[in-house]
């Protein structure tokens, strides 16, 4: 019988920036191999929630368990080395080194025996092959985002957290990114939690949807349930 233990389990998570209570009593699970979309408006708390999972920035109270282990007291780099990797928003790649070197930096996240081969990575992102020796600052926004995702994958994560991976990208690049993520899911045993505002992109790549509003989870279910209640979109995602 397959294990029903979630890969990521969050219970009673609260996060604060100074006196501001940003994330409030969040509970969520992500199963191995599952792709979950975390949707919400600007300022809803998506990025803060992502950072809270790595204890990177806000003051965090609550339980975050990864693969059954309580992550309390474990610093960012060690959480990353356990396979919980975040590709943060705004995609800042390192401008003065090459694409290949940017991607190689991701190798630090690798657990022993779980390194992804460079060739395999470039097969997943064929667009990057001709750009290997190009400097980071010479890339377009879309190319930079693909490099950031590839770098996140370099450490062979078990759960990849992508924070708004297609924000500000042209529709054709969004399509490319969706294709990349679909290919990654087909070839790697990898779970994904993707914070997004782009509903159609999220729908294409994910199995389940979580809605967040004002730091609280207001919906957690599959896309059929989400579509069955049109008010969800109206209330929590409309600008």
């Amino acid at each position: 019988m397959a294990s029903t233990e979630p890969l990521l389990s969050v219970r009673g998570l609260n996060a604060y920036y100074g006196g501001s209570h940003i994330i409030q009593d969040v509970e969520l699970d992500v199963a191995p191999g599952e792709c979950v979309a975390l949707l919400g408006r600007n300022g809803a708390g998506k990025s803060t929630l992502m950072k809270s999972l790595l204890d990177a920035g806000p003051r965090v109270v609550g339980e975050v368990r990864f693969d059954g282990e309580d992550l309390a007291g474990i610093p960012i780099d060690m959480r990353t080395k356990r396979g919980l990797v975040l590709v943060p928003e705004d995609r800042r790649i390192y401008p003065n080194i090459t694409v290949a070197e940017n991607i190689e930096l991701g190798r630090h996240a690798a657990r022993p025996g779980s390194v992804i081969a460079s060739d395999e990575l470039y097969d997943l992102f064929p667009l990057l092959k001709p750009l290997k020796q190009r400097a980071g600052y010479q890339l377009s926004g879309g190319q930079q985002q693909i490099v950031a995702v590839a770098r996140g994958l370099m450490g062979a994560p078990r759960l990849l957290l992508l924070d708004e991976p297609v924000e500000g990208l042209a529709p054709v690049v969004v399509d490319e990114m969706a294709a990349h993520i679909t290919r990654i899911r087909e070839t790697r045993d990898l779970a994904l939690l993707i914070a997004e505002q782009n509903l159609s992109f999220a729908r294409r790549v994910s199995d389940r949807v979580i809605l967040i509003d004002s730091g609280r989870i207001v919906f957690d279910g599959n896309w059929e349930d989400f579509d069955a209640d049109p008010q969800l979109k109206e209330r929590y995602l409309a600008v």
């Binding site: 390192y94 080194i97 996240a109 020796q133 400097a135």
Partner: protein
């Protein structure tokens, strides 16, 4: 495209040209000027070691004198109290002394402080080292250690006599050129790039699974070791190790070199050290006015040329290129094609 081989060749050529220029000094100048040139060569690498930390790892140190002084005193002690120890081992011990000071201090400071707080801690710790030197009889207290001999390096098959000031001067400039190139290679190695990645974005680099503090400590120890090596090389040249070389004013020197030359450029501290040495030499006869003149000049450069002299040169070159391109569109097109071809 980034062509690291071409960059290496260019920087090797710069180091080679610098070495050649320094090598000419004994032929065209008196022994006093040669002595100053030797100190400038040491200061160049001292400045580079500081900038490795500042522009490389993003750590501001106000206390590099503790490493410089530590290395100098280690070399002086080895030379005077343990003359049987080979000179090269003495240099290694000097560098190791700086590395050890950096390790002890870094373990404490990097855990507790960052930014300006870290800088102030380095200043405080450096002063502690200075006071310790002045209170320790073994280290000659305020008088320092004098009478340090220049060595003869015995390599078995042959020996290198460095007892004269000129031969030791050549030893200094060759060793400093080698260390400068080693620093360049480190900065452009995967480890060097990782340290620069930490400076650019510490949190993001931690997201890549990098233990940020360990790498900052690595940079700190490396920078401290090189600064201490500079001190160790200097002592047989000046033949004295006095507490002044661990005083806070020495800590300001690599900062000034870097600001003068340009912190964003690998050779910035080198340009700054040469310029600073020249100004210092030019104003040496101005009784009591020397420091004021140097201070005013530095203030002017820092306020008027924020990117340092190399930054100014780069801006001038860009401006000249833009003007040339504006005046001749055909030439511009040709130049664009050539660049693309490269």
């Amino acid at each position: 495209m980034i062509d690291y081989r071409a960059r290496f060749r260019t920087n090797l050529m710069i180091a080679g040209c610098g070495l050649a220029a320094f090598a000419v000094v004994p032929f065209v100048a008196n022994s006093g000027l040669m002595f100053l040139a030797g100190l400038v060569a040491i200061n160049i690498v001292f400045g580079l070691s500081w900038n490795l930390l500042f522009s490389g790892a993003g750590l501001l140190s106000f206390g590099h004198a503790m490493f410089f002084g530590g290395g100098a005193y280690a070399m002086a002690v080895v030379s005077l109290r343990m003359p049987e120890v080979p000179f090269v081992i003495g240099l290694a011990l000097g560098a190791a002394c700086g590395g050890l000071i950096a390790l002890l201090f870094g373990i404490i400071a990097l855990r507790r402080a960052s930014g300006v707080y870290f800088a102030v801690l380095t200043l405080a710790f450096s002063e502690l080292v200075h006071i310790l030197i002045t209170k320790t009889t073994f280290l000659g207290r305020n008088d320092g250690l004098v009478g340090i001999r220049r060595p003869v390096i015995d390599l078995g098959v042959f020996s290198i006599d460095l007892t004269s000031a000129t031969s030791y001067y050549y030893f200094i400039i060759v060793v400093m050129a080698l260390v400068a190139m080693m620093l360049w290679c480190f900065q452009n190695s995967p480890a060097g790039r990782l340290i620069q990645a930490i400076r650019q974005d510490m949190t993001r680099t931690a997201f890549l699974g990098v233990h940020v503090q360990v790498w900052q400590l690595t940079a700190f120890v490396l920078s401290g070791s090189i600064a201490a090596f500079c001190g160790a090389v200097m002592v047989p040249f000046t033949q004295i190790a006095s507490p002044e070389i661990a005083y806070w004013t020495v800590s300001t020197q690599p900062i000034l070199f870097t600001l003068l030359g340009g912190a964003g450029y690998f050779w910035g501290p080198a340009v700054g050290a040469i310029l600073f040495g020249t100004i210092d030499f030019g104003t040496r006869t101005m009784q009591g006015l020397s420091e004021i003149t140097v201070g005013i000049l530095l203030l002017a450069v820092v306020l008027m040329i924020p990117g340092g002299l190399l930054g100014l040169l780069k801006r001038r070159r860009k401006k000249a290129r833009r003007m040339a391109e504006g005046s001749s569109p055909a030439q511009h097109e040709q130049s664009g094609k050539t660049e693309a071809g490269q």
